[in-house]
Amino acid sequence: MAAEESTADAAGMQSRLGEQGYLADRGLATSVSVAVAIERPLLLEGDAGVGKTELAKALASALGTPLIRLQCYEGLDVAHALYDWNYARQMLYIRTVEAAGARTERLEEVFGPDFLLPRPLLQALRHEGEERPVLLIDELDRADDEFEAFLLELLSDFQVTIPEIGTIRARRRPIVIITSNRTRELHDALKRRCLYHWLDHPSPAREAEILAIRLPGLAPGLAEQATAFVAALRELELMKVPGVAETIDWVRGLMALGQDQLDRDSVSDTLGLLLKHREDVETVRERELERLTPGSGDV
């Protein structure tokens, strides 16, 4: 656990992430190390399944800090993201105090820390340890404009004021990773406050390396053939392009069937592990399978 990380060490970050099983390319490692060093949020965009969320997890493990995750969704509001009061408990407390006939001063305790439910953003602000926690704001594009505006404010000052308690300031700025699936464009103001990195699908060689790490006992020939096949698939016009997670599932399925080579039948049978839309499976079956297997090394 390094002390003041104010220098960006891309190579170092790359190897530390690698130790956690996450293979980042030089560009991503640079962006991450810079974001950590200059204390700016990092916005990761890319297709589903390229490893945006995984990066945050790997980073937290690599740095030995806790990962605090805020999963965004439509209708997410401050109460669910920042904090909420435990109303049920408060009411019980009030009733009990009334029943016991105690004096009103006790009622101030109703807004004490016991009754506060800290949600992820507040957890990140109140983190006690010396290290900076990793705050993952996942799929921000699913939240709405108002939440983005609130987040922008929070990311500027890293402090929040709860009327009944006071101002809470982060002791150390969390390392903020924001991911987006681009179902809508985030606001300029937010994008320009963050460092930006577009995460592409890995190259066949890199994906084969990932497979080797995740699937012990994988035959190298199968890895090469499989990644070449998936790479060719990603060039097609599909409804949903398979991500790394799908590739891993698919190859695991092939291995379970005892395959160490790609052949047309096994691929055709297991397409459902790779492609999640019926139309895509049909497209590939009807049009491409002939062209892409067997020996699908190059197209």
């Binding site: 891309a10 810079v34 916005l43 009733r95 320009r192």
Partner: protein, 394 residues
Amino acid sequence: MSELRRACAELAGIAARLRNEGLKITYPQIETAAEALIAGPEGDREFAYWALRSALVSGPGEGEIFDRVWAGEPPDAACMRGRDLSAPIAGSGSRRAGALRAGRSDGEGDDERDSDAVGVTFSRSEQLRRLDFNLYGPEEERLARFALRRLAGRLEERRSRRQRRSNRAARLDFQPTLRRSIRTSGHPVDLVWSGPLRRPRRMVFLIDVSGSMQPYSAPMLVLAHALRRLSREVEVFVFGTRLTHLSRDALARNSQAGWSEAVGREVPDWAGGTRIGAGLAAYSRGWGRAGMSRGAVVTVLSDGWERGAAGEIDTAMTTIRLAAHRVFWLNPLAARPGYEPLAGGMAAALPYVDVFLPAASIADLEIFIGELARNRPRPVPQVASLPPRPRSDL
């Protein structure tokens, strides 16, 4: 220190060149870029490349531009040409007298409220409705803006009415009810209900802004902006030789600018030809496939005159149509008598379009809004029913 100074000078140069190519670079971004440089090892070119890229780039399309600037390549000639705004663009009606001005003295604009002139008002607004955008003057433009905003409002009205009538039975929302009950010493007197809200579908506009489309793309931008102000889920892209997403501010700016200069400022390829297929494909790859098209109503505004390869439109439209809920194609030429969509680009796209409409006047856009409001469900497209893809592009 001189090493640092040199790096900062280079940084300033890069930022300037990026702005020239059409990227918006703000001062805080340059600050961030400088901080990033300082944080890393000196003299490491690779580090500098990635660090500056992460600070100055904010979208997948911008990466290419950054790469070009970093490599020191000369700026795209087509981009530079498009940025000359002083010269009026061919086909623009901004300096021509509008058809409605005949016989009218200046300054009469607001007298339409006069009840005596009601009959005159109706026939004038009726004329305006049917007037081709190509023939607009500044006065028509001003009136049309109001009309388009009202039109957008009508769509929202119909949507919200439908919502109220069809909301399912609501459930009690526990948390806010409890919160309110504290005011009444713990007795839940004030109940809060919540139920599933039918949100209007996302709308994606893909607008051709090449020279020939210019009189028609500007009103579309106004309409799109008006819709966006009413219902946040509107995304607008413009394309000519390149696809550009219009952020909320950019859309606002462009819809308020005069119609002859509307998009030129933002889009470096304003007066070039159109590569429709490439533009649509760029949208699909960058945004549509990732999820923006899903369940959305995608509207393309273009005359179909394609400069690129014919097969490109075909493949691009396939992807768009598979993911989108409905695909509209608006073509300003379609209103002309005797028009048939035979031109290569238009013919290629037509099989994938659910609704094909003209878009040359306000009346046409009213029909468009009417169709939007109808919101008919669409059967899931069968792969076999799509036309066979040409083999050449595989």
